[in-house]
Every structure is written in C-alpha cells, then in structure tokens.
Symmetry: none
Subunit: 126 residues, 4 copies
DNA sequence: GTGGTCTAGACCACG
DNA sequence: GTGGTCTAGACCACT
C-alpha cells in the first residue's frame, strides 16, 4: 500500500516511485510480476492518471520495470538487486546528512552512535 | 561562510536559512550578535537582496533572529538552544528514513548498525 | 469580498491576510474549501500575484490554509476555531489599549463603560 | 518613564510621542513645564538624538509643546485639554476595531459588553 | 491550469 | 546606512 501526501514538498509521482521501489524491494512484487494498471492505481490512490504514468515512465527508464505493449507494466528481473544497491546509497545519503548535523553540533562519534542506537531501539528494529 | 549551490533543487533562500542556523548552532554568531546586513550578504553571496530578505524573514518568524529598527538583524538569545532541539529532531527524521529503508531490505539491527559505523569511520568523525 | 486600501499604511499583503481570516471566520469559506487561485485573486484585487502569494504563504505558515500540489489553496480544518481564539486575543489587545488610555485620563470603570456603550449604540451593534 | 521597544513595528519616534502625550495627559508634566532636553532624553532612552528631535518636532507641529530658543521644549498651556480630545478619539478607534472583530465573529452587543467588562475587571480598573 | 523561486529595480520609512 | 513593500516579468516543476 502506497500512501500519498498531497501537501508534501515531495512530488506525488516521486512518492509513487519510492513506494513502488519499496514494494518491489520487500518482495510484494517479484520478478516479472504484473503491476497494477495506470488506471487502477490512479483510482486507488485518488490521483490523476498522468501522475501514475509519469512515475511508471521513470521507473521504466531506470530499468526497474518494463512495459508489454497492451498488457501493462512488469517488474524487471534484476530490479530487486539494483534496488538493493540504490537503497544502500540512499541510506548512505541519510547517514551523511546525520554526520553533517552532528558536526555543526560538535558531537563526536560515540555520541552520534548513542543517539542512533536509541532511535533504533525505540523503533523496535528487530 | 555560507556556500550557495545554484544547481541544487533546494531553494537558495532555504540554503541560506540552513547555513545561518548552522553558523548560530556552531557558535560563529552568538546570542545578540549582529548578522551581516541584507545588502552585504546579498553582495557576498552574489544573490538578489530579496532572496536574503526572505531567508532573514523566515528566521525571524521562527524566532531565531530578531530585527532592530534601522540597525539590522540580531541572533535571538535562546536560539542556539532551540536550534539544538531542532537539529536533534532533524537527525531523528533521517534515522527514521534509514530504518524505513532497512525494513524494506529486511535488515536487522546489527546489520544497520554496522553500515552506520562503517560510514562514520570512513567520514572520519572524530 | 476583500477590499484593498492602497493608501493605508497597512501593507497590502497584510490586508489580504486579514480579509481572508475574516471570510474564514465568518464562514464564507468553510473547512477544506478551495480558495481562489493566486492568479485569480491577483486579477480581482488588481494586485501583483507575488503579493497574493506572500499573503497565502503566511496564512499557510500560520496553519490557517494548506496547499495541494497543483490544485490550489484550501482552508485548514481547524482554522475557524483557531481564528476565533486569535480574534479574541486581538480584541483583548484593543481593550488593553483602551484601558491604558483611560488610566492616563484618570477615568474610572463606570466612565469607560459608558463611553464604550455609547459607541456600541451609535454603531448599531445589534 | 517612557519605554522603547526597538523591535516593535511602531517607529521609535512614534513611541516617544505617545509616551510624552501620556505623561502630559496624566500630569507628570504640567502647562509650561520644561521637558527633558533632546540630549538628556536621548541618553536616557538610549536612542539617537535625531529620533528624539523628530518626536519633539512633531509634538511641536501638533501644538502640544513649544520651543524657547536656546532654552528647550515646554508644554503648551492648552495641550492637556487637546490631548484629552485626542485620547477620546483614540479610544473610539479602538472601540471601532473591537466592533469590527465582533461583527466577523457574529457577536451581539450583550456578548461584546460582557467580554469588555471581564477584561476591565481583570485589569482592576478602579 | 496550479504554486514556487528568483531577479531587477523602484520607492518608502526609519535611524 | 537599515529593512519593508511592491511590481513586472521570467522560468520552473507539478497536476
């Protein structure tokens, strides 16, 4: 299930892209599975079909999904692996952001690690 | 020193806000210190004064700085503390993002912590 | 209908903010109603779109309205209640001003009340 | 004693004018009393002498005070009476503002009067 | 169509 | 010198 925030600064098509990536990554959609059609998804998310179309288009350009003429969109075979790489680099970005903030707060490694662990625990990451 | 990245998708006025917050947080500007005037900063950053004005305006609305009529902008006394809180919640957001990604990758706590530490080391956080 | 007084010392964007607040408070625009678009209102009030934008922006920051991407501005659900509170404190400010003046005139409570009532009557408040 | 708020939207010279009017109205300075010199007041209020000068100038133009060459500023004889009139009309303005707010809140006369009385009581107007 | 950002330049009030 | 307001107009991303 993808959730759209209409007031977020993140473009809706981008939110859809990220949602789809997450679902593919976590196995909701496997290799060569058929994705919901543009119209279906548009109705489900209460969004303009153009917006879904753009999201699918970009996913296709990135090689994450592919289209079969007249049949819809499918998950590209290697995409789970690619997305794994992508997710890692995404995580790295966030970590770098955290480090930048930590630096302006003059925190050392121990302190940052401590804060990080606290949130991990609180969020009950297994 | 604030650096503007003209090709970043982050608006210039936002970059200035963040830059100023960082300088106040790290003590470059202390409580009740005078900030550079709008025109000065505009020239220094090679940006339109309106853009600086907007940044200062938002910082003022947020209570981070205040204006004295005809004299310029000054750092609000409590703002360093407030910014510390703000920075923490900013860090928390990024950590939550990391957790969300980790979950879709089916990572457990140990693995996340390991990745995090690796980046900390690599970035030479003291 | 909002009326702009071009010769007033009160900035136009401020007049628009107050006008909108009044219309929301008095129910012309209800919760989640769509406001006129920036361009529409700009034409109607014969004002630069930037000026409307600034007014909407501040209303949004204050939580009175919110934006849906590509669709326009909408009245925030709780804003009528919030505005009620705000209006009350606004009234209190004016009353305090009256009291300050009364004190420097050495008036007692009875006299102030009498003046107040006289104006109420004259203005035909029902 | 006049208090200056450097961050207020009300110009400093205006704050001084109002402070002076209040002091004359309440009898701190009587007819033909000498006011503090521009320099004295500037030092006391920690304000630029130009600013005091402008305040005195406007008070003089309004006939509230008069200058004796080389001797300073004095309270004009009739000014207490004039200021009384002025204070009344000032009060009327505030009352009109209150009524405007009350109208947008759809309050009737009784309700407005009640709020007004409550604040009077709370402020311990004798 | 919607809002968002930015520039250039003008004019103003204030200190 | 300071900030504040406003206009005109351009360009952009999003729906």
């Amino acid at each position: 299930m993808i959730r759209i925030n209409e007031s977020s600064p993140i473009p809706i098509y981008q939110q859809i892209i990220e949602g789809m990536q997450r679902e593919i990554l976590s196995g909701v959609f496997g290799a060569d599975d058929r994705l919901p059609s543009i119209r279906e998804l548009a109705i489900e998310l209460k969004v303009n079909p153009n917006t879904i179309s753009r999201a699918y288009q970009e996913l296709s350009t990135a090689g994450t999904i592919y289209f079969k003429r007249g049949q819809g969109a499918y998950v590209a075979p290697k995409s789970a692996d690619d997305l794994l790489e992508q997710a890692k680099s995404e995580m790295a970005k966030h970590i770098l952001e955290i480090i930048a903030i930590a630096r302006s707060m003059n925190l050392d490694r121990m302190q940052v690690r401590k804060i990080f662990d606290a949130v991990l625990e609180q969020q009950e990451v297994k």
